[in-house]
């Protein structure tokens, strides 16, 4: 079974600065998908960014980008020009590449989360 680890329970950043959230994972697979989800105080889970492991190019979505290091099994999220609305819990998640449908191990596996506070 895959495991996802987020080693930073809490972080803070000043508004307009850049912050990087860490995520590592453990898998024996060569192809898979990685995600970052944002959970603001409203509790809604919002997909921030997605990375396909077989693509070497790091994914970007506006102010959000990832540093995907496949050999190191690392998938960090960089938030540039931090805004107050970025204050949230951030979850890293892993999904196997396998399309086997009757296997719970192929569902999204989440890390424990990092609570990010953006300060004015």
């Amino acid at each position: 079974a895959q495991t996802v680890t987020q080693s930073q329970p809490e972080m803070s950043v000043q508004e307009a600065e850049t912050v990087t959230l860490s995520c590592t994972y453990d898998t024996s697979e060569s192809n898979y998908y990685l995600f970052w989800y944002k959970q603001p105080p409203s509790r809604q889970m919002i997909l921030v960014i997605r990375q396909e492991a077989y693509k070497q190019q790091n994914a970007t979505e506006n102010r959000f980008s990832v540093n995907f290091q496949k050999a190191a099994k690392s998938f960090s999220l960089k938030i540039s020009d931090s805004q107050l609305g970025d204050t949230a819990m951030y979850f890293c998640a892993f999904r196997s590449f396998s399309y086997s449908i009757n296997n719970a191990g192929n569902m999204l596996t989440f890390g424990g989360g990092t609570r990010l506070m953006v300060k004015p």
């Binding site: 997605r50 979850f91 999904r95 719970a104 989440f110 989360g113």
Partner: protein, 113 residues
Amino acid sequence: NAGVTQTPKFRILKIGQSMTLQCTQDMNHNYMYWYRQDPGMGLKLIYYSVGAGITDKGEVPNGYNVSRSTTEDFPLRLELAAPSQTSVYFCASSYSSGVYGYTFGSGTRLTVV
């Protein structure tokens, strides 16, 4: 589109009571999931369904049951509620097998006292 709708948003149960958490989606997604989120923790998979009439256990299924009679609905049943089931419950759905991520409901905060 409403997306994924969960009801209720909050509930307090007494030990031993039962209840059903409702989840419905209007995106015609075949795949649906139930996760629980404990304080300061990530989400753990309870049950999932790959289509109407097909359900299977996730990582933490004990104390729960599900059914999937239609594509739209995926209710989660708690039998004999216990304090260990105090948590926030999320329902989600996905196009195909979730390789593009999931769409989540807004969650149900359940407290068992």
